[in-house]
């Protein structure tokens, strides 16, 4: 009797197990999302941060992408969250051409438009777009008539492992604050949470079961978006250069958020598990996260990509030795940062000319080397101004200008070099050291508004310029570009120390 009951119980257990397996454990497939962001033209390995452990570079990144794709060939998407081209001599010189070539070789599926994609103007952006074998995406940029940018798509739908995946691109509404106004003139950058619900509905109606937002908003805004807009499975992000070492999952809507740092130092890997029946995302694997792109001699490099990049680099080397101007006198950096120098005068004159501002201010500490008399090469210009600064132009009252001049003479990091503005200081008067200050010969009027150009470092209050903190400004050219343009136009230059900054009673 007991054996009979045991048999019946065993049979029941087996039936229940089979029922549980068939009903509860659905078949899944894996989608692999490989992603990078904010590559900023880093086609060569970076050994500056740690010479013993170089990272990034097109060849090693390509090798890693090809290896990862080979593990799930029919189920992999390769995405970029924008800001791919601007940022290194090697890429800037060719306006991003080697980066596009690398991306085409690696068969990127889509790229979101980053704010720096606008840095070279619309003509260059269109050239990049038409040379790309993948779409540039931005669903929230339209012109004043509400028409999207030519050739820029809102989304792309692809099929991987029989799963339809929609990728929707989103640009940052902050773009007009980060590039020259002319570059984005007439464009509206819409709020992402306003445009996305309609698009998500549209792509779902076309059969997309997985929705990815390819975002150049930055991690905090991605998190807000994930909470505000339901229906997004994954946000592949960029802009904030955040190393999201393990994917985040938003509490409200379950959206997965990833971002891969910057400069190609990491490849983002997100392995999504997807229900084969419904096509819906059920989770991600523990192996998802960031993979460091090491670029040492023992690390794997993709030969084809390396050979593709080489001509650009080889051709560029001589251009660093190319003459960009000539000087009749030695150009002197501020040796103790407490004096006016001819190189300080030259760079500030160049800043004024490039921006049209009536006054230019540049920190002494941002001028790093002398340039000897004779031809000036691009390399020498880069060495003198090694920081990748932008010009920024702002409005200051005369009273604020005087405060700036006081903060300049009291700064522990050194005084500001000036153009359009002269000042006489008395160091014995610590409370009010300005004896005389004039703009183009006329005394500063406390209430008058002056247009002042400086660099983004000083605009942030760098080197003690507290008065500039939080001031609204417009972004202009790169400082080095302004310098080169000036050298070319005024060749040969012969700047002098001309008593723009004078000290009385300083014991000398």
């Amino acid at each position: 009797m007991k054996t009979h009951v045991q048999r019946i119980m065993g049979l029941l257990a087996l039936i229940l197990l089979v029922a549980w397996v068939s009903a509860g454990v659905a078949e899944t497939t894996t989608l692999t999302i490989l992603h990078i962001n904010d590559f900023h033209g880093r086609i060569l390995p970076d050994a500056d941060t740690d010479p013993k452990k170089p990272v990034a570079g097109a060849a090693c990144l390509a090798a890693m992408i090809k290896t990862e794709r080979s593990k799930n060939r029919s189920g992999t998407l390769l995405l970029s969250a924008g800001d791919m081209f601007q940022g290194t001599c090697e890429s800037n010189h060719y306006h991003g051409a080697p980066v596009i070539k690398m991306m085409n070789e690696l068969k990127f599926d889509a790229m979101a438009l980053g704010n720096h994609e606008f840095d070279w103007g619309m003509t260059e952006l269109n050239r990049l777009r038409t040379s790309a074998a993948f779409p540039f995406l931005a669903a929230n940029i339209v012109n004043k008539k509400g028409i999207p940018l030519p050739g820029i798509r809102s989304y792309r739908i692809v099929q991987r492992n029989k799963v339809k995946v929609a990728v929707i691109g989103i640009a940052t509404p902050d773009t007009p604050f980060t590039t020259k106004p002319d570059n984005v003139k007439g464009l509206d950058f819409g709020k992402p949470d306003s445009v996305l619900p309609r698009l998500i509905k549209a792509v779902r109606a076309q059969g997309a079961s997985v929705v990815i937002v390819l975002s150049h908003l930055g991690k905090d805004d991605d998190s807000r978006l994930a909470s505000a807009v339901p229906g997004i499975d994954v946000i592949v992000g960029g802009h904030s250069h955040t190393e999201i070492s393990k994917p985040l999952k938003a509490e409200e809507n379950g959206t997965i958020i990833v971002q891969a740092g910057a400069y190609g130092a990491y490849l983002g890997l997100l392995e999504l598990t997807v229900d084969s029946q419904t096509g819906r995302v059920t989770g991600f694997t523990d192996t998802s996260g960031l993979k460091r792109v090491s670029a040492g001699p023992e690390d794997k490099a993709d030969r084809k990509t390396a050979l593709m990049i080489k001509p650009y680099v080889d051709k560029l080397r001589p251009t660093l030795d190319k003459e960009v101007g000539e000087t009749r006198v030695r150009l002197v950096k501020p040796p103790t940062r407490t004096e006016e120098t001819n190189l300080g005068n030259l760079i500030t004159d160049a800043m004024r000319e490039a921006s049209g501002a009536e006054i230019a201010v540049h920190n002494s500490g941002g001028i790093r080397t002398d340039i000897p008399a004779g031809p000036i090469t691009r390399r020498q210009a880069c060495n003198a101004f090694p920081y990748d600064n932008n010009l920024v132009t702002m409005s200051l009252t005369g009273a604020e200008l005087k405060t700036l001049l006081k903060q300049s003479v009291n700064s522990r990091q050194g005084i500001m070099q000036l153009s359009g503005l002269t000042v006489t200081y008395d160091r014995n008067k610590s409370e009010d050291p300005i004896v005389k200050a004039a703009v183009n010969g006329a005394d500063i009027d406390d209430k008058k508004i002056y247009r002042v150009v400086t660099n983004d470092f000083v605009a942030a209050g760098g080197d003690g310029m507290e008065v500039l903190k939080g001031k609204p400004y417009e972004t202009g050219d790169k400082l080095r570009d302004a310098f080169e343009q000036y050298l070319k136009k005024h060749r040969p230059v012969e700047p002098k120390v001309e008593r723009r900054i004078v000290f009385v009673n300083d014991g000398k």
Partner: protein
């Protein structure tokens, strides 16, 4: 859209121009922190403990923390962004 945003460095509010980066917020707050980060003595993390680059973009309300290199850095598993 407001042209200025407020971010927090080690809990202290810093008002900066919209479009400025992590490095600018550090400079505005305390230039010595920026110098330490640039020389690799420190790094910056966000409120979830993820590292951010000096040229990373900022949003209104972003919270950042400076950490000495090799210390204080947290390795995070899957987490949740905080509710706004």
């Amino acid at each position: 859209m407001e042209s200025r945003i407020v971010v927090f460095i080690n809990g202290i509010p810093v008002t900066i121009h919209r479009g400025m980066q992590v490095q600018h917020a550090l400079i505005s707050h305390d230039q010595s922190l920026y110098d330490a980060c640039r020389h690799g003595e420190m790094h910056v993390e966000d409120e979830d403990g993820f590292r951010v680059g000096l040229e990373g973009a900022l949003s209104d309300g972003t919270k950042l923390y400076t950490r000495k290199q090799g210390r204080g850095s947290r390795v995070r598993g899957p987490g949740r962004p905080k509710k706004e």
